[in-house]
Structure formats: structure tokens, C-alpha cells
Symmetry: C2
Amino acid sequence: MAIPRLTDTERAAALPSLAGWTHEPARDALVKHFKFRDFSEAWGFMNRVALLAEKHDHHPEWHNVYNRVEILLTTHDAGGLSARDIAMARAIDAL
Amino acid sequence: MAIPRLTDTERAAALPSLAGWTHEPARDALVKHFKFRDFSEAWGFMNRVALLAEKHDHHPEWHNVYNRVEILLTTHDAGGLSARDIAMARAIDAL
């Protein structure tokens, strides 16, 4: 079952409601940078996102250096952004 | 207290004993790629590395996509590889 990629119109409609998430055109992905007090706090956050990822069966590409976390969301099966990325971004922001 | 950067001789002596770790000259860093069965297994590994990082007070730069983990070790205070990176690489491999 193919997951449909968001149209330009759908993406443009969703983006303004996702605070801090930017669209990376090269990957058709959502990217957000997070900064925490220290590694412990960053890791606590990442563990919560890991649980969300398993629950949504939708996993981020992410990078961590000490207190900084960068999350990139895209849907490989769709070749770009899908509704699953928007849902995941909202779930992360709701933590 | 400055952490001394490894000399070329020290680095060359340490590398052969670190299976799978490669030296990235541009960053003077150690890099290793890990592949797991799925995200759950990758995350289990990353949690164990996170505990090591806190214990050693030495944190990796790392990237995860589903079942793949890339770890980069370098010592910012030393401007490159130090004995702390070698110790951390050995501790990760001992997991």
C-alpha cells in the first residue's frame, strides 16, 4: 500500500501550524532543532520520541550531540512528506 | 585542564585494535556504523551507549535511522582524538 505524498497545497496548509519545523526541499522533509540543558535531558526527550516512533511505526532520522537534537521527518515509502510526518511532528510537539 | 590530543604515533598504535572503527581525518574522529534487526534493537543499543556516555562523561555525535546507527567520537576540548575516545570506543565494543 503506497502512502501518498503531500501535494504542495497540502504541505503549505500544514506547515504554519508546526512551530519550529522547517521544510527542507532537497529531501521534502520536516526538520526541527531542539536544545536541552544537558545530555540527560536531551536523552529523556529522545526516549519519549522513540516510544512515539514505535507507536506510530514511523521513525525519524535524527542526530544528537550532547544537549542538541536534530530531527528530520520524511516518508521513504512516499518519496517525501506524507500525513504521517505531520502527525509525528504534532505528537513530538505535544510531549 | 586541557585534554591532550593523540599524536599521529599514538593514534596509529590504537587504531588496529578498534575493529570496525575508521579514522576520519577531516574531524580527527573515530567513526563506526552499526546495523541492527530493527529500531527496537538499535534503540536498546543506543540506550546502553547513552549510559556509558554519562558514566564516562564523554558523549558521542551520533545519528540514527531506523535500524542503523552511526557513532562519531572526538574530543572537542582536545580539538581531535584523545585517549577518552579510544576508551569510549572500547567500552562501546565491549557491550
